[in-house]
Structure formats: C-alpha cells, structure tokens
C-alpha cells in the first residue's frame, strides 16, 4: 500500500458535500401546516404501527424510534404530540424538489436516500466553501421550506462526519466545512467509530479491542500499513484513507451493492383466509418487482414468509417461510406472483391467524448480465420485459396501481373494503400531488 497524497490531487478543485434534510418527514408536514412549528411531531410506519420519524421536539420528549403507537397513545395525548401516518407521496415529491435545487447548485449529485445526497462542489463556483454551504442551505430552505444540514470535506466519509457534526452542534448553524480546517482532528476525536460511514457493528467491536475507538484513532492507523492490511478489508482501507482527506470514493460509488429486496408489511388486520393472504402476498410481490425493475435488476430467488401471532401462542411456531429459485432470473410480475401463490399455499396452515407477510427477492443480477431468449417460454423474454416496462411507465405517469394485476385483489377494490390494506388514520394531505389536497390560504 502506497499513499501518495500527490496522486489524489488531480481533482483538487472538487470537494464533496453531504446534504441531509433535518427530521425530513416531520419537516415536510410542517411546510404545509405552519401551526406545527415548534410542536412535537411523530410519523408512524405504514399501517400506523410504530414511530419511524420524529421532530426535534419529539426527540426531546424522549420518544424512542420504533415506539408502538398503541403503547404511547396516552403519552402523545398528554404531551400534545402531533401524530401523522406516513405520507410517502408528499415526502417523495418534496425529496424530488430538494434534489432538483441541489442539482442546479452543484457540479453533480448522488441521491443517497430520500433525504440525503452527496454533491460535488467545484471550488471554482465559490472560492469560500463555507459561503457555498450557506448558499445551499439557504436556497433549499427558501425554495422548499425544508431545513437541511451541509457537511463539506475533501472526501465523502469526512463529508458525512461534517454533516453529522453540523447537525448535532448548533454553533455551526447547520454548515460545517472540514477542508483545510485545523479543527478537523478535534471533531474526529469526538466521533465514535460506529458512526463512521462504512464501519459496521462487528468491525467496531473488533477495532475497539485494539483501542481504536474514534474516527481519529482510525485515521492515525494510516501510518501502520501492516496493521491496516491485517485487520481491515478493502472498504476499511478506503475508509482510513478517506479519513485522511484522500478521496477514494467518487459519486455513486456505493460501499456495497444491494444484495436483496425485502417487502414486508403488517396486514390491516389479522387474516385467516387463504384467498385474502394470497392477494396480500401478490400485492407485496408486485411492489417488490417494481423496485427490482427500477434498479434494472432481475431476481434469481424468492422467499415468502408468513408471520403469525407470536404473542397469542408463544409456544407454537409463528413464522412460516419457503423459498423458490427461478430457472433464469426474472422481473416478470406474473411469473413472480405465480410462484408466490404456490409458496403461500404450501406454507399456509388452516385455522391460523397471520399478521404479516414478507417477500424477499435475492440473487439479484443486472439486466445486461442476462441473455433474454425470445422463444423459450420458460425464460424472461423480451416480450415480458417490454410489457413490464410499459406497465411501470403507466403507473409512473398515472399513479400507482393504475395498471395492476388481478391477483392483487383488484376486483374488490371498489365495492368492498379490503381487510389487509393499510391503516392510515392520521394521514395529512397530498399537498403536492393531488389537486383536491392543495394547501388553503385565507383571503378573509
């Protein structure tokens, strides 16, 4: 391993920023409802099961992530906590807006999650990076109403640490630049190892044994080449270099590729009936297949798991799963649903109450890695591919489930409430995606 800082400097006019929306879901709710300003807000999971996001005020009240709604109902009421079901159409649209603003302001961006992005900043745009960071923060706030934190650094790993620090320590006012910042080591000394991007739980425990406890400790290991080679893999090595301000990861270079797609949800109420369970499973499969196609992948295997009521019958087995492999990787929803129904029938027990189903697609390969055969009916054909592409386009343009598969229980949609569909009792409006739901302002 040779470390020559000079060799990294050919892109020296580019630095990295991590932009992260503060308490994104809660902030989205606030934009269209100024009355929520300063109030504790919690967002519930699909099906209103538990808390998945909190405003700062809700964190201060000590409400933990994952808090079950039914257990905290009283506490929420007593403390004036505003409760919301998750409103993904709203969050998705607001996320799109943030990314668009960011795209206009920077050299290039990588959308990292619904509320975070890495960006390349060119020092030619603004010679003062602190000023650049403030412009990003201020513009996103003005255009979308969403508060963000900005961390700027010579590498992505440091940019993430800068962001984390800027968010936590209010004196930075949401913007921290670690390029040529003499305080960098002080900040790294305060950053526990498990918070460093790419350092997992197991690695943290292993490194703690060598008295490597903070980001700073790990950074120092760059001088101990043999030690690094012995105890860290390539990813770990890159992390050490990145902590030293030597960029090893460019935009869109994820730490590890996605290995599988999991769709798992609670039913709206417990189900016994095989037909209803099959409909639910088919729906989850078509959602998972959409995700699969969105990342241009095909799946080789599928696992379906039905989850019963653990608490009712603590001694009985409550999880029933089975697995199937496809002859050739596929992203064809009918093929997946067909297989999923067979699995469901094989594991479903009569007189058993099920609460949840999970679909896992694994063995993912990229479209381009698979040869499509036009004539073998067993294979994922070009015709199937084109049909799927067409359905996805219709649903993107005209809204989810405009074109859906009959197996998902479509035929009952209009006349009868479908029992396994989600509970969403605290849903705010779809302010940006439905005309009937737009914000109202008073002229009186």
């Amino acid at each position: 391993m040779n470390i020559d800082p000079g060799s990294f400097n050919n892109r020296s006019s580019i630095v990295y920023a991590m932009i992260d929306c503060n308490n994104f879901y809660a902030s989205c709710e606030r934009v269209f409802n100024p009355k929520l300003e300063g109030k504790p807000i919690v967002i519930l999971s699909n099906n209103d099961g538990c808390v998945i996001a909190r405003s700062e005020e809700a964190k201060d009240l000590g409400i933990p992530m994952g808090a079950p709604e039914f257990k905290f109902r009283r506490f929420f009421k007593d403390n004036g906590v505003v409760v919301r079901s998750s409103n993904y159409p709203l969050y998705g649209d607001m996320s799109r807006r943030v990314m668009e603003v960011l795209r206009n302001l920077t050299h290039d961006i990588e959308v990292y999650s619904i509320d975070e992005a890495f960006a390349e900043l060119s020092t030619q745009t603004y010679s003062d990076l602190n000023e650049y960071g403030r412009v990003i923060k201020q513009t996103i706030y003005q255009w979308t109403g969403l508060p963000v934190s900005v961390g700027i650094a010579p590498s992505k790993t440091l940019a993430k640490i800068a962001n984390e620090t800027a968010k936590r320590n209010l004196t930075y006012k949401g913007v921290l630049n670690l390029c040529n910042n003499p305080g960098t080591d002080q900040i790294l000394k305060k950053m526990p190892l498990q918070k460093v991007w790419g350092i997992g739980h197991n690695l943290t425990i292993r490194l703690n044994r060598f008295d490597v406890n903070t980001a700073y400790d790990l950074k120092q290991k760059v001088d101990y080449k043999r030690w690094v080679r012995k105890h860290l893999n390539v990813t770990g090595l890159r992390t050490v270099l990145e902590l030293n301000g030597l960029p090893c990861m460019q935009l869109s270079e994820a730490l590890e590729s996605r290995k599988g797609i999991l769709t798992s949800r609670m039913f709206g109420k417990p189900l016994y009936d095989l037909t209803e369970i099959e409909e639910a499973v088919s729906t989850y499969i078509s959602r998972a297949a959409e995700k699969l196609r969105a990342q241009h992948s095909l799946a080789s295997n599928m696992q379906v798991t039905l989850i019963g009521d653990k608490f009712k019958n603590p001694k009985s087995k409550y999880k029933y799963g089975a697995y199937t492999s496809f002859k050739v990787p596929t992203a064809h929803t009918p093929t997946l649903i067909h297989a999923g129904k067979q699995i469901t029938r094989s594991i479903h027990l009569p007189e058993t109450k099920y609460k949840k189903a999970a679909i896992m697609l694994t063995g993912l390969v990229h479209n381009s890695e698979v040869q499509m055969d036009l004539f073998d009916p067993e294979l994922y054909t070009r015709q199937q591919y084109t049909l799927m592409e067409c359905i996805d386009q219709i649903n993107t343009r005209h809204g989810r489930n405009t074109a859906a598969f009959a197996a998902t229980g479509l035929h009952r949609k209009n006349n009868e409430a479908v029992d396994w569909k989600m509970n969403q009792n605290f849903l705010s409006k779809r302010y940006t995606t439905e005309w009937e739901d737009i914000m109202i302002a008073q002229a009186r």
């Binding site: 100024p34 009355k35 300003e37 799109r96 807006r97 943030v98 668009e100 603003v101 206009n104 003005q142 255009w143 979308t144 109403g145 070009r382 015709q383 591919y385 084109t386 302010y431 940006t432 005309w435 737009i438 914000m439 109202i440 302002a441 008073q442 002229a443 009186r444």
Partner: protein, 126 residues
C-alpha cells in the same frame, strides 16, 4: 427495443418538417418547478386583485418578494393571502377589502412569507 414499428405509407405530410411541440401552459406559468406550489384561495378579500374564492394560485417560493407583491404569508401560523406594502420603513400586509385592517409587521410579529403569488387560475362558472 421495439417489436412493432408503424410503417408510414401514402403521402408524407407537408408539415412533417415543421413539427413543433404543442404549447404547454405549465411552461408559461411555472419558471421554477422545484419551488412552485399550488394553493387554493378561500374568501373574497383579494377580489379587486383578481383573486376569487376557490381560485387556484400559482406560488413561487424562489422569488424574493418585492414591495407590492401578492404573497402567501403565515401570520400567527395561519396561511393568508395579502399584498405586501411598505410605508416609510414599516411593512404591512393589506387586503383589498376595507373591512380587513392592514396587518402591521412589528419586529416581534410571528410571521413569515411562504411564497409569492405569480398567477391566478380562475374558472368561470357557466
């Protein structure tokens, strides 16, 4: 990859070389898509400015509000539609209807400008 391709037969349209995109209303009224939101007006206090009860307002958050602009403002956390005016060094939010007192912006007023109204979409009742 397309399996079926329509074949052109007969005479070629004389307009084929002059095809242009049809006019797009959104292009005319939305200049900053990421910052543009639609808001429904309730009440007739801004009628003289062309805003009627039930109209849809096109609101651009990216524009800096100039004196005289019609804005969506959150006053005491309530979204309202008013005209921003400056008299001397003081800011006011006024309506077109005399029965609504101008709102004076004091240094301690709890307010913010949510966005600037750029267009009104009004539907005539027929």
């Amino acid at each position: 990859m397309k399996l079926s391709q329509k074949a052109e037969t007969g005479f070629v349209s004389p307009a084929a070389d002059h095809l242009q995109k049809p006019l797009d209303l959104e292009e005319l009224i939305v200049h900053h898509p990421a910052a543009t939101f639609y808001v429904r007006a309730e009440g007739n206090a801004m009628q003289a400015s062309g805003i009627h009860d039930g109209d849809i307002l096109v609101v651009d958050r990216s524009i800096h509000p100039k004196e005289g602009a019609i804005v969506i403002a959150a006053i005491e956390e309530e979204p309202v539609i008013r005209r921003l005016v400056k008299r001397g060094s003081r800011l006011f939010l006024i309506s077109d209807a005399p029965k609504f007192e101008p709102i004076t912006i004091h240094p301690d007023t709890n307010w913010l400008i949510w966005g600037v109204v750029t267009h009104v979409i009004h539907r005539y009742k027929s």
